[in-house]
Amino acid sequence: MNIPVVNLGAILPAIMLSLFGIAIMVAEPFVSDAKKSWLGWLAIAGTIAAMLALAPMSRQAGQWYTNLWIVDSYSIFFHFLFILIAAITILTSMNFLQREGIHHTEYYALLLFATVGMMMMAGSNELIMVFLGLEILSIATYVLAGFRRTDLKSNESAMKYFLLGSFSSAFFLYGVALIFGATGSTNLIVIADSLRSGDPQTSLVSLAAALMLIGLCFKVAVAPFHVWAPDVYEGAPTPVTGFMSVGPKAAGFAVLLRIFMTAFPTLEDRWTSVFWIVAALTMLIGNVIALVQPNIKRMLAYSSIAHAGYIAVAVAAGSEHGVSAVLFYTLAYSVTNLGAFAVVTMLSRSEDKLVNLNDYAGLASKRPGLAAVLSLFMLSLAGVPGTAGFAGKFFIFKAAVQSGLIWLAVIGVITTVVSFYYYLYVIVQMYMRDPNEEFADVRTTGPLKLALAITIAGTLYLGILPTRFLDWTVSAAVNALR
């Protein structure tokens, strides 16, 4: 029997996060309440260790573990993104958990495990591995969504996410089973080879691809599979909402691109037209319904649906430019949205008392700093030049036009204009309305300040000097398309 080559370097970041996650989980019952925030910092240490482990991982380029696992600059880019998301989410959560009286440190462990799941999705070269990563991510996120156990909305959120999430996993798994039936393998490269050489049963393969697409579209919440997102995002604890709106979304798109670029290039004309429709629908629905949301968490939920639509535009573009635009946009959107959610977390006060848009009235006269920061994130989400959101949208629409998807780019630009209304409405509330309250009990604490500093720096850096990260995403895209 062949014993697989064990290459710990290739999976070192995932190992690091797993070890720290297990350590935090086991330590929880042994640590007194007063010292629990140390475990939060331990989780931060875990993300730093994982970030450092990216260096040895990047030296192990190639396929490992009997071709289950692939290390290329595409997977390393997503590893970097996921670790960053996890770190910012942990920083945002630390004081939130204390404030809400739910400082159970399993939270950090679950967050790290979810990140490991996302890494497995981005780095896998095999559909079974993708499914495993998807489940690790999903199960951890179901629990996180219901983390405010005594809150009815949080329970509703977890339940909805669980039911629809497991349903979509079933779709994905059905697709995997059919593609195994059609090609005799679950390895992406073997699937692509057998589709290119033999006479593939096109209808069966298309059905399998469609089922997998449905499963993943649920996870990334694009229309018409987006209906769960607003309720789930509204009920979940705010930092978890931030995490869910970027982490699983980025991981879903990472897998989507990997599967469709590697395994189904022969069906490209079929699935790009599907993505055309999905992208157009998602941008329209997300942006239009976001206009009338009074609750900022729901508004950001619809905005995150809309942003998934923009990413789908780049997926439809399909080329090297499209893939690199997807990568860049997920990074830019993650940084901006996590920042926005950090501010919302801070302002929402205990048990989500103040999450309506008119609760933000007059924030600028009482807390000018916070108002300025939130304005920056809103402008970046809308896509004002000089921010990360603008650079991301620019590359996406450029890729769409280069691939000849003029009309899709037009729809994208028009819906972007629509989106300005609801993003700027937050700024209008903050700067042009009289304050209802003093905002005296809003505290900016150390970890939150750090999270804001990282996200502000990221938003501005990606907006003003995008070239360095763009080079990275282009080389990752070239890698993924090979």
Binding site: M1, I3, V6, I22, M25, V26, E28, P29, F30
Partner: protein, 119 residues
């Protein structure tokens, strides 16, 4: 290709046929002397008392869930044991890692008090 599956079809027909025939035959040929004891949902001689749809403690679910978890993990030991000789030291170390991860979960569950019935 479809002919390869002919035994399955024959098997299906035989199984269904056997079930149908035995039920029908016992219905046709059986002696019927019903009384209230015999028609009770569980014919075991005991008189049923109360309803089965009562609330019971959530602890049962917790224990059942933990049992299921550790049970499933133990199931992984069987395929491992089958190929143990071929995997040699590699398989042994991998299984040690797996058991260590379960042990960490066990310690967590124990210290959390999930295994204690009375608290």
């Amino acid at each position: 290709m479809l002919q390869d599956w002919a035994p399955v079809l024959v098997f299906l027909i035989l199984v269904t046929g056997f079930a149908v025939v035995s039920v029908v035959m016992s219905y046709v040929m059986g002696v019927k002397k019903p009384n209230s004891r015999k028609l009770a949902p569980y014919e075991c001689g005991m008189q049923p008392t109360g309803t089965a749809r009562e609330r019971f403690s959530v602890k049962f679910y917790l224990v059942a869930m933990l049992f299921l978890l550790f049970d499933i993990e133990a199931v992984f030991l069987f395929p491992w044991a089958v190929v143990y000789r071929d995997l040699r030291i590699f398989g042994f170390l991998e299984m040690l890692l797996f058991i260590a991860a379960i042990l960490a979960g066990y310690i967590y569950v124990w210290k959390k008090g999930a295994l204690e019935w009375e608290r």
